[in-house]
């Protein structure tokens, strides 16, 4: 049986939206899939060596469960984003959910291929030296070279 393939496009760089690509990619790899993640726009933030600045905001995120109802005016206050991020990280830890760095390492260990969108790297003037070394740089056409032959293709 031919090896199954999965491609994921990761476009978000917030703490909550960083999880699905890494969870799905690492799990698919464990199931024997050949996996590639194409990081573009804000998803590029997930390639930074240091992921401690990946945050979550309660602002404009009405579905986020909060311990107490919080009016938008309060969510706007300085420090709220850091507080929400800290609370979310504590919650993840308490429930035995892996950290982003751990999941990303597990992806790399399982040979998940990371591809960064060269155009958005240029657009945001990102410094490649701030990214992990296990990244290839390519464009949309290169993505289709792999994605066109996949069994599963997801946009996150």
């Amino acid at each position: 049986m031919a090896t199954k393939k999965m491609a994921i496009i990761a476009t978000k760089g917030t703490l909550d939206m960083a999880y699905p690509p890494f969870i799905l990619a690492s799990t698919a790899a464990a199931l024997g899939y050949d996996v590639q993640i194409f990081f573009t726009f804000y998803g590029l933030q997930l390639l930074r060596k240091d992921l401690s600045n990946v945050m979550i905001s309660p602002l404009a995120n009405p579905a986020m469960p909060m311990p107490i109802p919080m009016p938008v005016m309060v969510q706007m206050l300085p420090g709220m984003e850091s507080m929400a991020t800290m609370m979310m990280k504590q919650k993840l830890k308490k429930h035995g959910v892996a950290s982003l760095t751990e999941l990303r390492d597990l992806c790399l260990e399982a040979d998940v291929k990371f591809v960064a969108c060269q155009m958005t790297v240029d657009l945001f003037e990102f410094d490649k030296s701030e990214f992990i070394k296990d990244v290839e740089y390519a464009g949309a056409a290169a993505f289709f070279g792999f994605a066109g032959e996949t069994d599963i293709c997801l946009f996150v």
Binding site: I23, S26, A30, G96, V97, A98, A110
Partner: protein, 75 residues
């Protein structure tokens, strides 16, 4: 049941029990049995799904005092 290797995934949540099962199996040989202990109730369906998709055999799956115990035989 006899087993060749064991690991405790208690307290770990999805997808860690599966990823660690896969890693443990990598170091084993065909026919050997891995015992996994987990507390994540989602692992019950996931371990079966992992076995179905990878060709390894889930020999047994039991709940003992709030913990789930799996015996997985390597393909």
């Amino acid at each position: 049941m006899n087993f060749d290797k064991e690991f405790d995934a208690s307290g770990l949540n999805c997808p860690l029990p599966i990823l660690k099962t896969k890693k443990a199996l990598n170091d084993m040989t065909t026919g050997q049995v891995l015992k996994v202990i987990a507390t994540d109730c989602g692992a019950v369906k996931d371990m079966q799904a992992f076995a179905d998709q990878t060709g390894n055999t889930l020999l047994s799956n039991t709940e003992v005092g709030g913990k789930y115990v799996f015996f997985m035989q390597k393909k």
